[in-house]
Amino acid sequence: MIHVQGLTKRYGNITAANDLTFSVEAGDAFGFIGPNGAGKTTTIRMLAALLKPDEGTATINGYDVLQEPEGVRASVGYMPDFFGVYEDMKVWEYLDFFAAAYRVAWRRRPALIRDVLELTDLSAKRDTYVDALSRGMKQRLCLAKTIIHDPDLLLLDEPASGLDPRARIEIRELLQQLCSMGKTILISSHILPELGDLCNKIGIIEQGKLLMVGAVEDIWQQLEGGTQLVIVVHDRQQEASDFLAARPDIADVELEENALHAVYRGDPDAQSAVLTALVESGFRVTSFAERETDLESLYMRLTRGIVS
């Protein structure tokens, strides 16, 4: 769906995007994470054919961003981080305008607007003026506008910034629904929990550089060199710790309170062998689990020291 090769954008001496290379497959939900000013917006705008890259290529749905911006625009729904709304305009007129701007035939528009309003839960606000909507509703309306021409790919730049927790959850549920409808989503954020449940792939960007790309679990594994295990034994914790440390497929055993944190480096399918060995040696194991891949700690590890 998206193939990016060596994409670079400079503003004077500042390199906003530096040699980015990644790809997103159809149906993926790709999270673009980085602190403010890392180059997320620049990258998304280049993908939406709104900003000319200095170097590199990007193709979206088979269309080259530089050569065929029309094709890119037809297949992309772009939601900017800072969007304005028109005064003196009703909700349905706003959507009708954008549908017309995307060359949706007028016969199809009323039904389309009804569907999109229903999806974004704004049906009751059809005849309200746009500038009378709350911020969360405006954000949902902008999302409705983004999907009005039924694009395959959604480029969403910080869709939940500045929203209260409730509105944020509503947006997230909406995005999950869109994901299940088969849309490919590229979403940027500096708020991590927002992406955790939604994305199956992430890219971490800082100072214009892509630090890491891949599935959340893969990145975690890459960082740790293995799977994080959390093992709780009823007693003889120190003994269990020594036992684990002696095994060749286990590295870095740490004892924190009652739980043992260990990194498993062996064959993922043979992970249960560790449990078997523990039980056979007479340790009373009450819990044996993989640690949940937590995006926040992943992010903190990756960006450690670079920001400060």
């Binding site: 709104l50 625009r73 900017p80 304005g84 003196d88 305008f97 954008f98 701007a101 035939a105 007028w106």
Partner: protein, 367 residues
Amino acid sequence: MRVPGLNIEDTLKRCFHFNPCIAVHELRMRMRGARPFVVLFFYALLAAATVLITLAVISLQSSYYYGTPDTDPTPGRPAFAALAFSQLALILFVIPAYAAGAITMEREKHTLEMLRGTLLSPADVVTGKLVVVLAFGVLLLLTSAPVAAWCMMLRGISPAEVALTYSSLLIIALWVATLGMLFSVLLKRTTAAIVATYITVVVWCGVPALLSALVHNLARGWSYVYANLLTLSFLVMTVGTVFGWLVFLICRMYAARGSTRSATRAGTLVSALIACASVTLVFGVLLVPLFEAGLTGSGARATLVAAPYGGPVLILFAEDFVASRSRMTVPETQLIACAVTGGIYLIIAIFFWIRSIVLFEERKWAV
């Protein structure tokens, strides 16, 4: 928009590759609420006031000199001239305020980026906005049409002359609308674009007037009291614009200090109306008698044709011209004046229009 069997949108798309949605959208926003109707109402009121005051001035003059108020057999002509020139001044004052904000407002409201993300072409955006500005100009001119009909009933002006004057006013409106649009594409802020449009109008209208004044003064010596037609037209066109803008700013300083948003808006609207009224009265009513006085001693028709106001001036005062120095008949002079000045400004307007589209396209990568 929905006529069974025929759809304007489909037809435009199919035949001209023009997507009219910007025009529809602009019309929805601009014609909503009471504001446009208040503007039209006051415009009609001003047009009527101009004619009434002109007629009053004529009869007062007549009473003063001849002892009876109705010595002029054709009061319709000076009344219509006053109407036409007040409209000219108003068009140049009002249209830039509408046109110069067309693109810059989108930029200021952060909607331009979303617009560029759609499948609208630069021509769709620029032309769509231009169509609406022009439609508003046409609406303003039409509002004054009943007053023009009233002038015709007073004798002295024919329907053909009214039609010619209105068509040259329309072309001036087109010219200034495309000029405003060009600055709207070029500049970042609305205020800058409006000011740049006003300054260009002033300089553009002033250069022919100054050239002609120079030629006359060189020919006749500096002691000649210069009441040239061009200088007066220049006054109507340019000083009128600047004057109106100043009145607007001064009024707004006092009127638009409301605490709420609607109070501020109402203050701005009132200031704009006061500014329009003063432009009309000062430059429509008071200067037209001077026009007629200035005509007999003027010449330099080449510079007059090159000036944007040449059309209406030559049409309305053709008689004086022909009487003094021409071999052509009055209708011929009027027709040629309308065709030449109209043609020149139509070509310039088309150039500005295409240039705006090209510039909008060139800047697509840099919002």
